[in-house]
Symmetry: C2
Subunit: 198 residues, 2 copies
Amino acid sequence: MKGFVVWITGLPGSGKRALARALAQQLQQRGRQVEVIDSGALRDTPLASSLGFSREERVQNCLRHAFAAKLLANNGVVAIVSAVSPYRETRDTIRSQVGAFAEVAVTTPKETCIDRDTRGVWAAALRGEIRNFTGVDDPYEAPLSPEFAIDLSHLDEHSAARALTAELSRLELLTGATAPGLDNDPLARELEDAGFMS
Amino acid sequence: MKGFVVWITGLPGSGKRALARALAQQLQQRGRQVEVIDSGALRDTPLASSLGFSREERVQNCLRHAFAAKLLANNGVVAIVSAVSPYRETRDTIRSQVGAFAEVAVTTPKETCIDRDTRGVWAAALRGEIRNFTGVDDPYEAPLSPEFAIDLSHLDEHSAARALTAELSRLELLTGATAPGLDNDPLARELEDAGFMS
């Protein structure tokens, strides 16, 4: 089966991670090999531990997620990335690199995210205790034409994941029949070039 | 089938990459999903592009390779890492993190690597034009008890890969029956913890 990448973007606290996990569960039940790449969790790993929250570092962070996700997708895995990934240009770059890619916009409004704020991060950011916080003092650029958009204000993540699974089917990503772009791509060729040191 | 990580370490120019590719070919012929993570090639990707060749950066580089390899192995893929990976402590850390892990020492002597020097990097390092070069002004700490050790001075990579494949079979990594450590590990648990920003 062909792998692909589901890239879930949205404001902090919008429900991305819950959706990612619910989707993973449903795709696993369909017999797919699935990996969730959760941006928050990755912050403590070698993949991202040295990165801060400047624009450049956020872009770099997203590109590393994408690199790992693409490696997985190239090996038949469905890689579900859950990441604020606030910048449109970066997401578009990743789309072009990955090929078999579905961008999912979690559109839960900012006010709802602030109201929920289960971790108190919005409150801290609004008090100025956290800087470069997306939605407060760092911009969030919503997708213009995502494959799927969903507001998780009133919808539970399992229903949302069912709708998303249906859309992935419709896009023929789940059939493995038409997943584009993974066989002949520039990144794979780039990886053929080699240096000597490590 | 259970994935695992084959970690190929050795001096620059010792033949790691050729062995990695030959092994990948043979395992693919056995129906395995295989990914080669070639350290030299990764230097131009988001995974490693910001890293130099200080001790700390080399360690970080290896840990990132290991992170990607483990992600793949957790999803049933055989991840073959080809990296100088000069420091014993780092390789041992990675071994303990990965679980299903085979360390392969390419023991081609330094003199042979210098004689071959197909890319001229040894000559440049010996002239002092490349700094922090493993084997010249940066140490190489050979494995003390690798799963497999091979000198590629006089043996071609395909014969070496056949011998290595036999050893992986003997270690029961290829059967998928006893690959240890991938189900209940600290890193997986660590990834369960989540933050909010990305």
